[in-house]
């Protein structure tokens, strides 16, 4: 189960790593006005991963 979850998370984890590094860099550089640029991708990623995990849960049953 955990293996399957981690496997499905790979295309999202890659972006999460990039987002984390870029947001930290923007905070360190005091470029707070640029942080908004990461929000749309973060939200869309959460929606997409949530749909995938919901479907997996439905298929595996109660």
């Amino acid at each position: 189960m955990i293996r399957s979850l981690l496997f499905h998370y790979i295309p999202y984890g890659v972006i999460d790593v990039l987002l984390t590094v870029i947001i930290i860099a923007e905070i360190v550089q005091k470029r707070g006005e640029l942080i908004w640029s990461n929000v749309p991708l973060l939200v869309l990623g959460i929606i997409s991963l949530n749909r995938k995990l919901k479907r997996e849960a439905d298929e595996s049953g109660p």
Binding site: I15, L41, S48
Partner: protein, 205 residues
Amino acid sequence: MNLALELILLLLTLPLIYHSVHKYGGERTYIFWSAGLVFGITREFTLSSIAGLYHFHDFLFVVRELPLIYMVFWTNMAYIAWQWSNNLLDRDYFASSSFDQHQPLIFLILVFISFMIETAFSQYGMITWNVDSVKMLWENTPLLSPFAYGFSGSLFLKGLKIMSKHEGSPLVRRVWNTSIIQPVLILVLMGLLLLTNTSIVLFFS
């Protein structure tokens, strides 16, 4: 920071290749990343050296004035957009009909990826755009930049989808076929960017 960003962008290829091999098999993964290699090199060479839309600075890993990350960058981003759109729509893009919701979704995901990446690149002076645009997103990044990302990913995946219909032929032939269509895709990309930039100029002037 430049070194960290380049290393991360290069190393993130490994988990994506692992994901692709386990999901689609070695052959399809090989075709995907080899086509992406040709696409990335052709695209960056055309847009930066020939068209002069932007120039690269302060990249540490460079081969013949072309940053090394672009050998895998477009493949990685297109693969991510493909997987996200598949999960959003609950069907595979390559198995879907010609005109469906995948294309606009892939375009949108790549536009959002451009917001994330281009802020970092412009912040550290890695890319300098030379487009005369009346509308800038931040610093010298023009409004054309997200369109360039969206069109690139959509065209690359569309090309692979068209070529995936010949799955019965030998691997070498499939790799060759998918590689030789990449320059054609770049020509289409250039046309789309010209039209988009003209529309932007007309809209904001």
